[in-house]
Amino acid sequence: MRKAKSARGSGLGARGKNKKTPNSELRTPNKTADLLFEIGTEELPAAYLPGLIEQLSREASSLFQAQHLPVERIESFGTPRRLVLIASALAATQRKPGEEVRGPSKQASYDKAGKPTAALLGFLRSQGGTLGQTKIVKSEKGEYVHLARPPSSTPTAQVLATLLPQLVGRLRAPKTMRWDESGLRFARPIRWLLALYGETPIRCSLGRLTAAPVTWVGGPLNPRSVRVSSPGSYRIMLKRAGVILEQDARRGVIEQEVTRLAQQAGGAVVPETISHGLLEEVTHLVERPVPLAGRFDSAYLSLPREVLLASMAKHQRVFAVESGGNVVPQFAAILEGSPRKPNDVRKVIERILNARLADSLMFWKEDHARLPLLRMAESLSGVGFHEKLGSMAEKSVRLRALAEPLAEAWKLTDEECGHLRKACQLAKADLVSAMVKEFPTLQGVVGKYYAKDSNEPAAVAEAIEEHYLPAPHPGGAGPPRLPRTLIGSALAIVDKYDTLSSYFGLGIMPSGDQDPFGLRRAAQGIVEVAWAIHRALPLDQLWRTRVSMEPFRSAASKDAAGSGHRIHRYLLERLYTFAWPPRPPGPPSAAQTGAGDEPSGRGGEPAPESDCIDAVLASPCDNLIDAMDRIVSLQQLAGHPGLRKAAKVIERTRNILRGAPLRQPQVDPARLAEPPERKLWDVYASNHERVARLAAEQSYGEATTLFGELFFEPLHEFFDRVLVNVPDEPLQQNRLALMQAIHTLYTERIADLSKLTLLQREETP
């Protein structure tokens, strides 16, 4: 970029007497002031606020940078009624260095008479340049008009007038709307804009609004406009109006207040209501939080904990209180502003909560009149699963069938088998209950209670609840919730396997981001649950049972074998998005985190090279969990010389086998002619059982290093001194059979190591 030169003959150069060149101006200190920008809205959705607040400072930062506006600190805040940006010590002058912009070609820019064409003038207009700032530049492509824009300095206040509306335009929300003729879109209507740079009001416009140095307080009930003279006085003024602008401070106050109220009630806030997002939601539902304690009728304590919490948190956004692990009939509410008659407000909230709980209790009793749960399950024929797959009753029958191969692979006891069969039968029964119709998110939970109340074994009841897992960690971050029991894990797997296979059978498969039936999550869930319990996942046996049922049995699925292959493949492919290295098997502890779709947080662990997955998947993988064990073993061997040797052996044997067809199944030791091949055979003959045994014992690391150590040297010698592809065909076939025996000894049991990238890295040192 040329700077000083481009100023010659242009506006800046024409200043003549001004000795200060733009370059020297760039070096003088830039004064600063604080910017306050407030977007006043009607009530924004609580769930959108954290995202909007975060975007506001991120987007502001990127715009300031792009616009050459240095700033010391950017903060953003939000309440339901306002989004606020405060940029501290923002430079008072925008100093843009000079720049050159290429325009149209010379030919297109001037007509025969040498007059500028419409194309050139249009270009200059769009760039805000003048003819005097142009020049002709020759390049390989020909001659072009360039606009040489001189360095410029513009008062920040002027830049902000166009920058702030752009900033609003960059904010994204999950759903946006229009509200007036301007066609402006936002999460909810924007009703005012306040923009102050230092004490200078910025008159920017957006839609039909123009910014003014005025904000609104008092909520929608008692709206008052207040003049704001400076960014500093704004925060003081809001505080005086009772508004806690800073979301973190607001969250802190609310947590403190509900904790205090719970203590006064002789208990503590139910921890789930804090962790399940209610605290976060309430923080973004109010800007002037005021606490209020209340009670409900203790008759409703006979309802299960989950139902009580759902009624309080979901329907009324109040915090439940517990003492000694039991919910007590009290709650802590957070109001907006200070109602004049808090007692009346409390009475109404109590009345409504009581009415809701009365409704729940009515459903509870109504459902109990229909118990035992087994009887409720009979109504499942009226609940559709999919029109081509029949009802939930039919699904339950399939679950029972699918449970058999799994029970066998897991070597369940007779008692456990009985529990699993019963759990399959009852898993979906609560879908016909009035309670689940009212609280769909309590499916499984309600089933658990109804199973207990029907005198079903605890293992069955737990399994009913657990079979909908895995579920995201209740607090958002953290490991997913997984089944803790054996029967629950089994039921979770067969249910998801049935769903996955059913839709695949109908030709419905996830593609790209299209996955309306949640099949990707189901497949991922199968892998996670099976790994956590660390039991076999026998894909072939599951499929053999599945294929004898709908939709594969009838004409609904013409290509059953193809479906089986696709299901199998799809499940195995989930390993690529699994969070490697996996958590140690077993239910996750609270300390373990980071189990999203993407691998994360592996610290000093071996890298989750996907080539290890490639290698294992190229070998037989009927048992998915065993395949995962093999992947982990290979990953743990990263850098071990034994792995490199084993990979070399697999690669060399594969290459030679690829070159010529093998027709002889067995090595004939009598026909081994050369010493190196006899030696190789001896190593094989006396050690192959050891390798096979280690693999069978799932000591894959040991099996791999042993294999490498055993065969690497003798194979090297063999290739140095013996030619495999000799014209004597019986001899050649015998040598190939030897290669095959060594190759498959490993690849049929563990992995095709020729897929490892460490081999490629070696070839190009």
Partner: protein
């Protein structure tokens, strides 16, 4: 303030703000949104302001008269303002004050509500308005109706009349609400709640309603062919109510539901298109 006075107060309030006070539509419907004044009023560019009471039938919400907050038939007061005035939120609050509510005494909230009527192909964004944690109003800025992006944004305000009177009268039981001179809400409605709940949940003939649905749907299509807009739309309303009845009888499975909804939505879309087509030819002539 008695129930009937509340209606009169709202009528007066909105009449003074330029609304036509139209009357309840005489076909069963689940909500005031189905009233032609809203469904068609929201479409097109022509400004429109209307207010009306609409008896709303929600067969699945019946509680045999035993729940003080839920009924299978209740009254909505519906206001539709097109285009939306900038101060619509304060207008709404003013209307509550006109009804005798001392808002400063209460905890009033605007809680996110992404409103959607899948059967009408309509959606909008707005809030449930909570008074002391009870939803008393739905407040929506319409974005689409009949699957069509709206030319002008309407604001729909739907008051829960029973709940607002309960606040105004300080009653906790809807059936004890004073309706008019010497008559409670219960006097006028309790028997019907009991009997209709029994009908909706126990006695309604499923096969008969299934047949009704098919016939109304067929008729709506025939009338659309004949370009008889309002008669066709009435058949759609009947389809919608019949679907709700089947739902209350537990005769709609999870997989049936989307298909029923799609069938009704298809009709709604054609009605909306026919209406706009009319409006355009009307403009030209």
């Amino acid at each position: 303030m008695q129930f009937q006075q509340l209606i009169r107060t709202l009528d007066t309030f909105w009449e003074q703000r330029g609304c036509v006070i139209v009357q309840p539509y005489d076909v069963e419907m689940g909500a005031g949104t189905f009233h032609p004044a809203t469904f068609f009023g929201a479409l097109g560019k022509r400004p429109s302001r209307a207010a009306y009471v609409q008896p709303s039938r929600r067969p699945t919400d019946g509680r045999y008269g035993q729940n003080p907050l839920r009924m299978q038939r209740y009254y909505q007061y519906q206001v539709i303002l097109k285009p939306t005035p900038d101060d619509v939120q304060s207008l709404y609050l003013e209307s509550l004050r006109a009804c005798g509510l001392k808002l400063e005494d209460h905890d009033l909230r605007f809680v996110q509500d992404d409103w959607e009527s899948p059967t009408l192909g309509a959606w909008g964004l707005g809030w449930e308005v909570w008074m002391d944690s009870l939803e008393v109003t739905q407040f929506t800025y319409f974005q689409q109706v009949g699957g069509i992006d709206l030319d002008r944004i309407s604001c729909e305000i739907t008051y829960g009349l029973e709940r607002i009177t309960m606040f105004a009268q300080g009653t906790s039981d809807v059936y004890k609400v004073a309706y008019g001179p010497k008559a409670t809400y219960g006097d006028l409605h309790l028997a019907n709640e009991r009997e209709s709940s029994a009908y909706n949940f126990e006695h309604a003939d499923v096969a008969f309603h299934q047949e009704l649905f098919a016939k109304h749907e067929q008729d709506a299509k025939r009338l659309l062919e004949a370009k008889l807009l309002l008669p066709a739309y009435e058949q759609l309303l009947k389809c919608s109510h019949t679907f709700n009845m089947l739902d209350a009888r537990g005769a709609v499975s999870q997989s049936d539901r989307p298909r029923f909804v799609l069938r009704i939505r298809g009709l709604a879309k054609r009605c909306a298109e026919l209406y706009l087509e009319r409006e355009q030819t009307h403009e030209k002539s």
